[in-house]
C-alpha cells in the first residue's frame, strides 16, 4: 500500500501536503486512483473560490465513474494544477506528484486534525 508518511489524509481519499508558506496542496491518494481506474477528465476548482471543510470542490472522472473531491479544510483556492487536468492519466501514473489544487486554510491548525498515514491505512482497511 503506497501511503507516504510525510503526508496527511482524509476519509474521502484526498492527500494533503503542508507547504512552507502554510498552504495545503491536495491530490487524490494512490488507493483512490486504483479504485477509479484510468482517469479521463478532471474538473478543477476556480482560483479564488472559498470553501468549507468537506465541501465538494473538484471532480475526477475515470472511464468507469465520476468521483467528487472534497476540501480537506475551510479555506480559499490559491492555485490549481492545470497540467493534471490536461493529462488526467498523470494521476494514475503518480497520484502523489500530480496534485490537483492548493488551499490557503482559514485555520492552519486544521492540518493536525487530518489523518496521518497510519490512520488512513486503518481507514481504508476498515
Amino acid at each position: 500500500m503506497n501511503i507516504p508518511a510525510e503526508l496527511r489524509y482524509t476519509q474521502t481519499h484526498e492527500w494533503v501536503r503542508l507547504e512552507d508558506d502554510g498552504s495545503f496542496t491536495v491530490g487524490i491518494t494512490n488507493h483512490a486512483q486504483e479504485l477509479l481506474g484510468d482517469l479521463v477528465f478532471i474538473e478543477l476548482p476556480e482560483i479564488g473560490n472559498s470553501c468549507k471543510a468537506g465541501a465538494q470542490v473538484a471532480v475526477v472522472e475515470s472511464v468507469k465513474a465520476a468521483s467528487d473531491i472534497y476540501a480537506p479544510a475551510a479555506g480559499s483556492v490559491i492555485a490549481v494544477n492545470q497540467a493534471a487536468a490536461d493529462a488526467p492519466e498523470s494521476v494514475n501514473a503518480d497520484a502523489y506528484t500530480a496534485w490537483l489544487f492548493r488551499l490557503k486554510p482559514d485555520n492552519a491548525s486544521d492540518y493536525e486534525a487530518l489523518l496521518d498515514a497510519a490512520g488512513y491505512q486503518q481507514a481504508i482497511e476498515g
Binding site: 486504483e34 481506474g37 471532480v59
Partner: protein
C-alpha cells in the same frame, strides 16, 4: 459469487476483479484504455464464459424460435449462419437480447446474457409449455467461451490453435463452424473482426495460455464496455430492458414486422409503434456522459442510456433515448452536475474496424 473456469488465470495476471451480475469477472488487468487500444489496433481477448450457451433441439426447435424471437428465424438458411435478435414479453418489452446460430434445421444454439440466464431459461420453458411444442432446451454450462477480437485476431487464433485453421479460415461474418472441440463463430461485441470460441470447460485454461503466448492482450469488462459503445451496440439492462420496446431502443432493424409470421410481443409493438429513438451523441466539450443524464432537445427531454469516454475518439460518447423528430447533426444539451453541455446527435456506430465514422 459464480466463477468461470478461467478465474485463477485472471488472478494470476493481476486482474482487478468485480462482481458482474453475480459473477466474479475481470474489470481490467492494469489499464482498460490500453486493453481497448489493443483490440482496435491488434488483438485482445475476453473471457465470456459467464454468458450461457443454450442448445435448442428437436422437431419443433425452429417453430419455437419462430414464435419466440422478434427476428425471423427463417432468415437463417445456411448451416452455421447466425443473427442477433431480441425476445419480447407480452407488452413488447425486451426479455433479453441474444445471438442465434443455426446448426441444422432441428438444432440451434443461442447465447444469452449472464445476468438474465435463469430468467431466460424459465421464460423459454414457459413458452415451450404454453405452445405445446416439442423441443429440448439445454443450457451448456459444460462450455467455456473466449472472445478474441481485433484486426489480427484470426491470425493469432490460428497461431495458437493451428488445428482450427482449416475449418475456420473461410467462414464469413456472422457464421460459425464446429472444428473438433471448438465452436468457432465470427461474431463479437467490439466492432472489430474476430472469433468467439466455445470449448469444453476443461480446455479453456490451455487455450487462454496459448492465446497469451501468441501475443493476445487479456482484456476485461471495462474495455468490453467502451468497445461495444464505440461500436454502437446495446447493453441489456442499460440501453433496453423489460419495460423498453426494441423500437425505442434502436433495435427496429432486428424486428420483423413485415412478414405474416406472428411472434410473442408483436401485437404490442404494432399497437404502440415507435415512441422514442436511440441515437448516438458526442459531447462537444470536456466531461463524461453517463447513463441517466438528461438530454434537452427542441422536441422535448430525453435521457442517456449509456455513456463513457471513447478511447479511440478521445471524447465522451453515449447512446441516448430521444424524442422523435431529433435528427442526426442536431446539437442538444446534456445536463451534467446541474450544468448544460452541448452534444451532437450522430448516427452509430461511432467506430468500426478501427476507424472513427462520425464527424463532431
Amino acid at each position: 459469487m459464480q466463477k468461470t473456469v478461467l478465474n485463477e488465470a485472471h488472478r494470476a495476471l493481476g486482474a482487478k476483479m468485480v462482481d458482474f451480475g453475480g459473477w466474479d469477472m475481470p474489470l481490467h488487468y492494469g489499464s482498460q484504455i490500453e486493453e481497448h487500444h489493443a483490440v482496435r489496433r491488434d488483438c485482445g481477448m475476453f473471457d465470456v464464459s459467464h454468458m450461457c450457451a443454450v442448445d435448442i433441439a428437436g422437431a419443433d426447435a425452429k417453430a419455437f424460435l419462430r414464435r419466440l424471437l422478434a427476428n425471423n428465424i427463417d432468415k437463417l438458411k445456411q448451416p452455421g449462419k447466425a443473427f442477433y435478435s431480441v425476445m419480447l414479453n407480452a407488452k413488447g418489452g425486451v426479455v433479453d437480447d441474444l445471438i442465434v446460430y443455426h446448426l441444422d434445421d432441428t438444432h440451434f444454439r443461442i447465447v444469452i446474457n449472464a445476468g438474465t440466464t435463469d430468467k431466460d431459461l424459465a421464460w423459454m420453458a414457459s413458452r415451450l409449455i404454453d405452445w405445446k411444442l416439442d423441443a429440448n432446451i439445454a443450457p451448456r454450462r459444460d462450455l467455456a467461451m473466449i472472445a478474441v477480437q481485433g484486426p489480427n485476431a484470426r491470425e493469432k487464433v490460428w497461431k495458437a490453435l493451428p488445428e482450427a485453421r482449416a475449418a475456420s479460415a473461410e467462414i464469413g461474418h456472422f457464421f460459425a463452424v464446429q472444428a473438433g472441440d471448438f465452436f468457432i463463430a465470427r461474431t463479437g461485441y467490439t466492432g472489430e473482426d474476430g472469433f468467439e470460441i466455445g470449448m469444453p470447460a476443461d480446455r479453456a485454461e490451455a487455450v487462454w495460455q496459448a492465446l497469451l503466448d501468441a501475443g493476445v492482450a487479456p482484456s476485461g469488462l471495462g474495455a468490453r464496455d467502451t468497445l461495444r459503445l464505440e461500436a454502437g451496440m446495446n447493453l441489456y439492462g442499460q440501453d433496453m430492458d423489460e419495460a423498453t420496446s426494441p423500437l425505442d431502443a434502436g433495435l427496429g432493424w432486428t424486428v420483423d414486422l413485415v412478414a405474416a409470421r406472428d411472434f410473442f410481443g408483436k401485437a404490442a409493438l404494432q399497437q404502440h409503434g415507435q415512441q422514442r429513438q436511440l441515437c448516438g451523441i458526442v459531447l462537444l466539450g470536456k466531461g463524461v456522459l453517463r447513463g441517466h443524464q438528461k438530454v434537452m432537445t427542441p422536441q422535448g427531454e430525453g435521457e442517456i442510456s449509456s455513456g463513457t469516454f471513447s478511447p479511440t475518439m478521445q471524447q465522451s460518447i453515449g447512446l441516448a433515448r430521444l424524442p422523435m423528430g431529433v435528427t442526426f447533426g442536431n446539437t442538444v444539451q446534456v445536463e451534467i452536475r446541474d450544468k448544460l453541455h452541448a452534444a451532437k446527435v450522430v448516427r452509430t456506430p461511432f467506430v468500426r474496424f478501427g476507424k472513427v465514422l462520425v464527424n463532431f
